[in-house]
Symmetry: C2
Subunit: 158 residues, 2 copies
DNA sequence: ATACGTGCAAAGTATTTGCAAACGG
DNA sequence: CCGTTTGCAAATACTTTGCACGTAT
């Protein structure tokens, strides 16, 4: 008898809110807004982006609250901080189910793109094992020129 | 007739100073001091650390000059910026000859330790190739507990 | 001699913190 | 209702910039 157990893939937002509850934390305005905004993104975003994104959808939260929410979520291992070298901290959901991804940073226009690579993932795990290191988090940042910049196109953003 | 061509392994400092000259840049006080300090380190250090290190050896340079020197060196690909997630930019020599290393960051005490792993290195190159990406720089930051912290020892620094 | 480099201090950003008010449970 | 959470604004930390002077070439 087969049952459709895996059909429900809870969103990261739902998982994160559960995580907050499990930790005995409240999910009022700011915290919830941050979780919901992050859950809708597919790559990392800065605190400012999060704040603006939330503002764009009607509500408004203080920057401080965004940082505090991110801090809390990071402690619970629900979000991961990603540093791409521009002095701005970025954050992204840690999705257990989803494939982990890493980051390509364009040296030219500064844009950040996600990528996944299974062999790399395995190499990382083996490396950690070899070092006797319990891998809590990891992040690979590769730098180079993105497709757009390589082709001499002006970056759309700036 | 064999000549002892490879016996001289020029220090990174020497290479960096050459690089500066090649770029038509001067190597006066601050720039030279930064290069010499960095060349003597085996892992990444922050601008403040560099400044203090230089101060400790007699000379004194302004923070601004350290940042400017690092900026210049980074543009020449002589140093690489390393971000370990504590909001402080760190920098380290790019040693062509030497084996590239990556970073282990202790989630507990925050210390940064270098490590090398050949298979990981190869996996990175293959991944970049697979992505059609010209790898200019890369940095892997692994997070977890360092040996000291795992053993419940108090971190020596703080 | 002269343009490049440097130091100082002031300015600019990103992030954190203190505190009273708001609100979730 | 009560203690957590939030927003605001002030504080902090890091990094950058302007400008006058010093110095390598």
């Amino acid at each position: 008898m087969r049952t459709a157990i895996v059909l429900e893939m809870p969103t990261w937002s739902a998982l994160a809110l559960d995580g907050l509850r499990a930790a005995g934390l409240r999910r009022g305005g700011a915290r919830r807004a941050v979780v919901e905004y992050l859950g809708a993104q597919d790559c990392c975003c800065s605190a400012q982006e999060i704040r603006e994104g939330i503002a764009a959808s009607g509500s408004a939260v203080g920057v401080a609250s965004v940082y505090r929410a991110l801090d809390t979520l990071a402690e619970l291992r629900l979000v991961q901080r990603v540093d791409v070298g521009d002095g701005v901290a970025r954050f992204e959901p840690v999705r257990a189910d989803h494939h982990h991804h890493h980051h390509l940073v364009c040296d030219d226009c500064g844009r950040v793109a996600p990528f996944t690579d299974e062999p790399l993932e395995r190499a990382l795990e083996r490396a950690a094992g070899r070092l006797g290191y319990t891998l809590e988090q990891h992040d690979v940042v590769l730098r180079g020129a993105c497709d757009d910049c390589r082709r001499g196109l002006a970056p759309p953003g700036a």
